[in-house]
């Protein structure tokens, strides 16, 4: 397979290329970048960002958005921590937290699919509602985090990495296989690519989208729990603005805002790229007032290069076809 063909057929390929180029560039810009200690820190939140980005990507492939993930990221662990405080066993408390995430997903799906409102608006509403519930549940104050939990199996340290990276890998590989090898994966692409055509093929598109909403919300809730376990604290503001980071990661990773295109690998690469960009700006000691400008500019450059690379690959294919 030719290079241009790989770039064209795999939405994450150009993002991967970007990641490689950026890594080389950042290594040149700061000697502290490609070091053990730096990667130990940079990789810590990656599972959290990437899991949310994977959920958002899959939902975007199906043709919908979920802006409520930032609030679900706080709601699920908040319910879990409160349940732990009430004496519930850890696994049951986690399941209860995930139930809250699923409840938000079902509301999102109902408003979007039954009432016919755009998911952008529906989930904007639940973004506020879920955050409010998280605050009300805790009475406005951060609940005490239980200090005697055994959390090694979820956030324990394994040299450079945390165990949460392996959770990300397991979930990512599983969902990647589902997307590429299972009928359900094809249904998701078909639903987002052309909903009417998918219906004509006999695909229950409403069910596909509902499952994607549940998956997206559950991953956001689970990611929030991982962060809570990692920092050993729960505050109601957790995850504020996370929805935009997740969408940015998905888009950098090659997901199309119009649906039908995207990949799990791309979402993970997008999350890595955003983390690397923020990291290099800190290492380069950019002035505080310019920090957000620098992050924003780097993200725009990354997405633009990604698009230009894919456009170039498309043109190359066209030239080849014309020559043939």
């Amino acid at each position: 397979m030719r290079f241009s063909e790989i770039l064209r057929s795999k939405p994450e390929a150009s993002a991967f290329l970007m990641l490689a180029v950026m890594t080389l560039l950042f290594t040149f810009l700061s000697p502290a970048f490609l070091t053990y200690n730096n990667f130990q820190i940079v990789l810590q939140p990656i599972p959290e960002i990437a899991l949310v980005a994977i959920g958002v990507t899959i939902l975007m492939i199906s043709g919908e958005f979920d802006l409520s993930v930032g609030s679900v990221f706080a709601l699920s662990p908040m319910i879990m921590v409160l349940a732990l405080g009430a004496g519930m066993p850890l696994v049951l408390a986690m399941l209860l937290g995930l139930c809250a995430a699923i409840a938000v997903a079902l509301i999102n799906a109902a408003i979007t699919l039954r009432l016919g409102l755009p998911s952008f608006i529906a989930t904007l509403g639940t973004l506020f509602m879920a955050r409010s519930i998280a605050i009300v549940a805790a009475g406005g104050f951060p609940p005490a985090f239980p200090r005697d939990l055994d959390l090694w199996w979820i956030v324990g340290k394994v040299d450079l990495l945390r165990v949460s990276v392996f959770w990300l890998l397991a979930i990512g590989i599983l969902l990647g296989i589902v997307l590429r090898k299972f009928d359900f994966g094809s249904w998701i692409f078909a639903t987002g690519g052309n909903r009417q055509a998918a219906r004509d093929m006999g695909i229950n598109t409403a069910r596909v989208k509902t499952i994607c909403f549940i998956l997206c919300s559950s991953l956001a809730g689970f990611a929030g729990m991982i962060q809570t376990f990692r920092i050993k604290a729960m505050v109601p503001t957790m995850g504020t603005g996370f929805e935009l980071t997740a969408i940015a990661a998905a888009v950098i990773g090659g997901a199309a805002l119009t649906g039908g295109i995207g990949s799990v690998t791309g979402a993970v690469i997008g999350a890595l790229l955003i983390a690397f960009i923020e990291n290099i700006i800190i290492l380069m000691r950019i002035d505080a007032n310019w920090f957000r400008f620098a992050v924003g500019a780097m993200i725009v450059i990354a997405v633009a290069i990604n698009k230009l690379t894919r456009d170039w690959a498309g043109i190359s294919k066209q030239v080849e076809d014309d020559n043939d």
Partner: protein, 328 residues
């Protein structure tokens, strides 16, 4: 029997009289006060202010409302809420001033129309000279930043070079700029006295995880860092990743503001050394008390500095129960 009837009649008359008096008093005191903030409802710190406000409103039997912003930090929305509150004709207003010019006209109009306005938590940087508000109840933010830097560095070796990371949680918002500005002032003064002391400011964000990450990334890239000062409590999120970097307790001194469970935990672990409690409960209670006194007795408003109390690890045990109660 006649006496009994007479006494009963007297009692009923007395009870009826007291009820009427109470009702009249309740009616007379049924003031409506509104407190406004630029932050969202998810701000933990403001929940303690709300607790103080609610208690004062219950004590003085007045009708109170705290207006959070739907969008955290949206100052136009905050101004809109202020304008709406003035138009409602409430009996008193408490608000933050996080931008020196934005609220000047609205607050002057409210005061001119007889609505007393006090500021709480964050004031105009020019104080009474910059705005028509009657008084400020809160912390002298600049001075508090100065005290944190001074208190944090007091035990450090002045013969050795020191590098301090300043975490500006919200660039452009006066509360954060003032605190970090105060800290910077102390560091510059100490450096001018001959101490080899350098500092650098980063946008550290206001999220435990993000702030923790940014501090740790900075520290591992700048291994001369010996102290960290945060503009809020979020810097406490760095404790976990500092341990991952192999940094021992007390190796890097960290200090900042406010009291939350994770900050107290990190104090116990030896990674946070100082915090300033600005007593937000009082910032909710005192404005209502003052507005009530102004309306009921025509008393004047007065500035109140709610705190520059430095809390160190030795104090954790004594404040922990009050944090749990949501009043500190």
């Amino acid at each position: 029997m006649k006496n009994l009837t007479k006494n009963l009649g007297l009692c009923l008359t007395l009870v009826a009289g007291l009820s009427a008096a109470n009702a009249a008093m309740a009616q007379e005191d049924n003031y409506r006060f509104t407190i406004l903030t630029q932050t969202g409802v998810d701000n933990t710190f403001w929940q303690t202010i709300k607790r103080g406000m609610d208690d004062a409103c219950a004590d003085y039997k007045v009708d109170c409302q705290l207006l959070f912003n739907q969008e955290n930090g949206n100052l136009q929305q905050h101004l809109q809420n202020l304008e709406t509150t003035i138009a409602q004709g409430v009996d008193g207003i408490g608000t933050v001033i996080v931008e020196d010019n934005l609220y000047d006209e609205a607050i002057a109009r409210a005061v001119d129309s007889g609505i007393p306005v006090v500021t709480l938590n964050v004031d105009d940087t020019q104080g009474a000279d910059g705005n028509a508000r009657l008084a400020f109840i809160g912390q002298d933010l600049f001075q508090a930043g100065y005290e944190v830097a001074k208190g944090l560095l007091v035990d450090m070796d002045k013969t050795q070079p020191q590098h301090v990371l300043l975490g500006l949680a919200r660039p452009g918002e006066s509360w954060a700029e003032d605190r970090i500005g105060g800290a910077r002032k102390y560091l510059d003064e100490a450096a001018a006295d001959g101490w080899n002391l350098t500092h650098e400011t980063i946008d550290s964000a206001n999220d435990l995880s993000i702030t923790g990450q940014r501090i740790c990334q900075y520290v591992q890239g700048n291994d001369k860092t010996t102290a960290v000062i945060g503009a809020g409590f979020w810097f406490a999120g760095a404790g976990e990743c500092l341990r991952d970097l192999g940094i021992e307790k007390d190796q890097i001194r960290m200090g900042g503001f406010d009291l939350v469970p994770i900050l107290l935990d990190e104090m116990n672990k030896g990674y946070v050394h100082l915090t300033v409690d600005q007593q937000p409960y009082l910032q909710g209670y005192l404005p209502i008390q003052q507005l009530y006194m102004i309306k009921k007795y025509g008393l004047s408003a007065y500035d109140a500095n709610t705190g520059k109390a430095l809390i160190r690890p030795d104090d954790v045990a004594s404040v922990e129960k009050y944090v749990g109660m949501g009043v500190r």
